[in-house]
Structures are given as C-alpha cells and as structure tokens.
C-alpha cells in the first residue's frame, strides 16, 4: 500500500482538485480496502482493486460536491489559468528554481484537470500510476480499445494545450 499511496493520492487529487479532500478520500479508500479485504478477489491485482475503490470514492465525492461552491486551491482561475494554490508562496527553496518548469507545472495541472473525466482518469492512471491499458479497462469498466481511444484523445488535447512548450519539449527529447 505504501507503494501505491502517492500514485493513488495523485489520481484522487487530479479528480477532486483539493489536497485536503484528496487526503480524506485516500484514507477513506484505505479503510474501505481494509474492510473489504475479505472480498478482495485474488484473481485481480491489488492495484486494480485499489484504484477501483479510489475511483468510486471520487465519483461519490463529485456527486456530493455538485452543490458545493467553495474554491479549490488547485482549481484554475477564470482568466489567468493559474490555480489558487499557485498564489500561495511555496516553502521549499527550489520552488522558483526554474521559471519554465514552474510555469509548465501550472500549465500541466490546468491541462490535465481540464480534460474530460473519462480521459483524465485514463491518462493519469496510465501516465503517472503506470497501470496497463488492460488494468485501466478493468478499473473503469470499459473495453481496452475504448481506454486506448480515451488515452489518445487525452494526449491530443494535452498536446494542443501545451503547444507553447513545443520547443521546450524538443530540448527534453
């Protein structure tokens, strides 16, 4: 579980867009996993099951949060595109070490969180949680080809959103 804690937290954070809420849901997911340990089918991977639990909790939170209007620290502002958390001074000394990298971080968060839910969850699970397309298909309950299509659409959207970093990306390649 310690190995999956950070990827699952990131997956939850990109969905709920609030660190505190993500932590709460992470604990909730952890408790659900412990409670449902007997129901866990050893035929499936623990990773798939853990992400399924976390995803269900994120969906429940989204349903409950329909009427909540409090701003999220990671929620992008209307005009600037930056999140509210970006306006808070960071404590680490290397926060402004690389201006481009810092800006890219913000742009990536904005671009990822602006993706449709089905594309974002597939992208995050594949890109950052390193789940295979088959595992993602098990988590989201969709065919593998559908998952690949969502991933392809997500990458195309991100590419168009991050076109200003095209040259920077060439240097990375």
């Amino acid at each position: 579980m310690r190995r999956h804690r950070t990827p699952i937290f990131h997956f939850i954070l990109r969905s709920v867009k609030n660190p505190a809420t993500a932590d709460e849901i992470l604990q909730d997911a952890w408790l659900r996993m412990i409670q449902g340990a007997r129901e866990f089918q050893r035929a499936s991977r623990f990773t798939t099951w853990a992400y399924t639990v976390a995803r269900n909790l994120c969906i429940d939170h989204a349903r409950k949060a329909v009427h909540r209007r409090h701003p999220s620290l990671d929620q992008p502002r209307e005009e600037e595109g930056a999140t509210l958390g970006d306006s808070i001074a960071a404590n680490d000394a290397g926060a402004d070490r690389n201006a481009i990298g810092h800006q890219l971080q913000r742009s990536l968060v904005v671009a990822i969180e602006s993706l449709p839910n089905d594309q974002r969850e597939v992208f995050v699970m594949r890109e950052y949680s390193n789940l295979s397309f088959k595992e993602i298909a098990d988590v989201v309950g969709a065919p593998e080809n559908t998952v690949k299509s969502r991933m392809r659409y997500a990458l195309e959207r991100l590419q168009s959103s991050l076109v200003e970093y095209e040259d920077y990306a060439r240097t990375l390649g």
């Binding site: 804690r5 408790l31 340990a37 594949r126 991933m151 392809r152 990306a169």
Partner: protein, 399 residues
C-alpha cells in the same frame, strides 16, 4: 504494416505494452514512414512534457494511522458510511448505537413528521371534545327507552278531597301553562323522564316544595326523586299516560323525536329569566322577544320598561314600540291608552318636539284601528326645518 495499424500500436509502443516482435515491426514502419514517425514524435514530446509534472507526495500525517490500521484491521467506519475518522472497534459500537439514535431523532424532528403528529393530535382532540350530537339528539337518545311506572304501581290518593282534579292525558298544554314551579310535575311523564332539561326542571320543582306539585307523574326517576317528599305527593299521582304517548312518539333513524308542541311546552315550562330592573334591560328583553315573535312578551317587556321611568326621549321611543306591538296584537284600546298617555303632545311635549309630524299618523293609519292624531300646528314644521340640528331631530323621531 500499414499506417493505420501503426497508429493503433503507437500507444502500446510508447508505453511498452508491445512484445518485442510487434514493437520491432512498428519501429520498422516508423523508420520508413514520415507521417507515422512525426505522429510518434509528437506523442513522445507530449509524454515528455507530462512527465515533467511532479507528483505531489501524499500527506504523511495519516500514514502512521493507516499503517496501524493495516496491521490491526480493527477499524470501523462512521455511522453514515462515510469514513471521516478512524476509531477503535470498541468505540465503533458506541458510535453505531449513537448513530441509530441520531437517525431516529432526525426522523422524529423532521418537519413533515411534526406536521403529521400535530394534525393527528388535532383530529384526536376534535373527535374527543367536539359535540357530534345536537342537543335534540342527546335528549331524544335518552328518551328512547323511557322508564315508566305503571299506574298500578303508584299509590292511589288517600284523600280525595286533597286530590286535585285528575289531569287529562290529552291536555298537556293546559298543564304546561301552569305556574312555573309546577311545570315539571304538571307536564306528563314522558317529559319528566327523558331529558336533562326535564331533570333540571325536576330539581327546580323539588326546590319549590312538594305541596305545590300536582298532576300525573309517570317517570320512575321523577317518582324516586320525590319519594322523600311524602305520601301526600304520591297520592296526587293518578294516572300514567306516558307509555301510549311514548309509543306514538315519532322517530328518525331509530331515534325518538320530541314533537314540536312538547318542545315548546318544555321551553315555556322553564323558569323565566329574572325580571329586568332597569328600563334598558326591559327594552332589550322586549326587543329580543320581538325578534322571537313572542308578541305578548314583547308587550309585557315594553310595559315593564315604561314602568321603570326611562328618560323622556327613550320613553317616547318605547311607547311608540309598545303602541306598535299593541296594534299588532289587536289590542287597540290599550294602544289608544298608550298613545294618549305617552304619544300625544300634551302628554309629553318635550319628547314630541323633534318628531316628524307625518310619522305617527302613518303608523296609525297602517294599523287601521287608531284614530288619526290631531293635526300638528303648521308653524312647527318650518321652525324645525330651519333648525340646523337635523340629526337630533331624526334621533328623536321614533318612526
């Protein structure tokens, strides 16, 4: 490999989900196809940018708790099913019990439940206290099974000289017109045994003394009430016509009804209200009697009001009302006396000072049995017309 297949496999190639042989085929196609290679490079650059996103570390403050939970597996969730705190399993039972009470409390405190409870309470109180039976029904219900003492059980009069003439069962109205203290006893046995009204009348009669009682008494309750009054009272009981009359009583839906004439007798037999001691009370009594259509009571009350020395203006108005009532009752002589005493100018000039001259003759001619009054001097009309106090003139004119 064609370009379409290559594009389908590009994702698998970049995420290392292709086996070595299939990956070699794709790479071979990319080497010879500029379009597919460009697409692969764009995909690679996007992935490179996405990889620059640093994953935030999960909060560490909950890590020890989660590790402990994982080791013990003794956890419980909150009552609502949403995990908001980690609690030991012993505490979980208490929370679950408190949650049950909380749910019941929330259900009980809902607005809809409260409204339904209040509505049921109001309906219950209404069913308990609202009178669904009319007074007539309550009376007739009690008279449905009259208890009647046969005449043979009653003691015959020992002294014929003290016995008044036996009352005829076919003449209850005559007994009903007896003095009020005698009324309960003078009414027949049915009335004495059937209603709270009759019970009340019996109590009045008992309070007046036994010697005044006369006439037949058939109700067992009435006889028992008067048992302590001595044999002299029972000696007056001569006959019990109640069974026949009770059998003849009309019924509606199985409930016996009191005939209208008997109801009237009972009402007349009730003790009257105390005589008014002020002229205003007497006038009010006369007006109420007039509204009931009781002409005799109206006349009597007006006469009583006049006897209590009302103010001149009121005396004039009362006299006019009395005059009108007497005319309606056909008692023209008395009406003329009232007119001569109260309504002529010589009798009370101050009261007639503001009277419209045409009013009295108009009423008198409508009655048809009263002589027209003497013509009023012509000089009075212009004088009063020139008077600016029209309201006072109008108030003083009774008609």
């Amino acid at each position: 490999m064609d370009c379409e297949t290559c594009n389908d496999l590009l994702l698998d190639l970049h995420y290392d989900e292709l086996d070595a042989a299939r990956a070699a085929e794709v790479r071979a196609h990319l080497a010879g196809c500029d379009d597919c290679r460009a697409a692969s490079e764009r995909l690679g650059r996007t992935r490179a940018l996405a990889a620059k996103l640093s994953l935030p570390d999960a909060p560490t403050h909950s890590a020890p708790v989660m590790a402990a939970l994982a080791s013990t597996s003794q956890v419980a969730t909150a009552v609502s099913g949403r995990v908001s705190a980690v609690i030991p399993i012993e505490r979980a039972r208490e929370v679950k019990a408190a949650g049950w009470l909380q749910r019941v409390g929330e259900l009980a405190m809902r607005r809809q439940v409260a409204m339904v409870a209040i509505s049921l309470l109001m309906v219950g109180l209404g069913l308990r206290y609202l009178p669904f039976r009319s007074p007539t029904q309550s009376v007739t219900t009690e008279m449905s099974q009259p208890e009647v003492i046969p005449a043979t059980e009653l003691t015959p009069p020992p002294a014929p000289s003290a016995t008044p003439p036996p009352a005829q069962s076919t003449a209850p109205s005559m007994r009903a017109r007896a003095p009020l203290a005698r009324a309960p006893a003078s009414s027949d046995g049915r009335a004495a045994s059937r209603a709270p009204l009759a019970d009340g009348l019996r109590g009045v009669a008992a309070g007046t003394g036994a010697g005044d009682l006369a006439g037949p008494r058939a109700g067992r309750a009435a006889a028992m009430d008067n048992a302590d009054l001595g044999r002299s009272r029972e000696a007056e009981i001569v006959e019990a016509p109640a069974p026949v009359a009770a059998a003849q009583a009309p019924s509606y839906n199985g409930i016996a009804q009191i005939p209208a004439d008997e109801e009237r007798q009972l009402q007349q037999a009730m003790p009257p209200a105390p005589a008014p001691t002020t002229w205003s009370a007497a006038r009010n009594s006369a007006e109420s009697a007039s509204s009931r259509g009781d002409l005799a009571a109206t006349i009597a009350s007006y006469q009583r009001a006049l006897a209590l020395d009302p103010p001149p203006a009121e005396r004039h108005a009362i006299a006019l009302s009395l005059h009108r009532a007497l005319i309606s009752a056909g008692r023209a002589d008395e009406a003329n006396r009232v007119r001569a005493q109260y309504l002529t100018q010589a009798a009370d000039p101050s009261a007639l000072a503001g009277q419209v001259p045409t009013s009295v003759p108009r009423t008198q001619t409508s009655a048809g049995s009263v002589q027209p009054s003497a013509p009023r001097p012509a000089s009075t009309r212009p004088a009063r017309r020139s008077n600016s106090n029209v309201n006072s003139d109008f108030n003083q004119s009774a008609y």
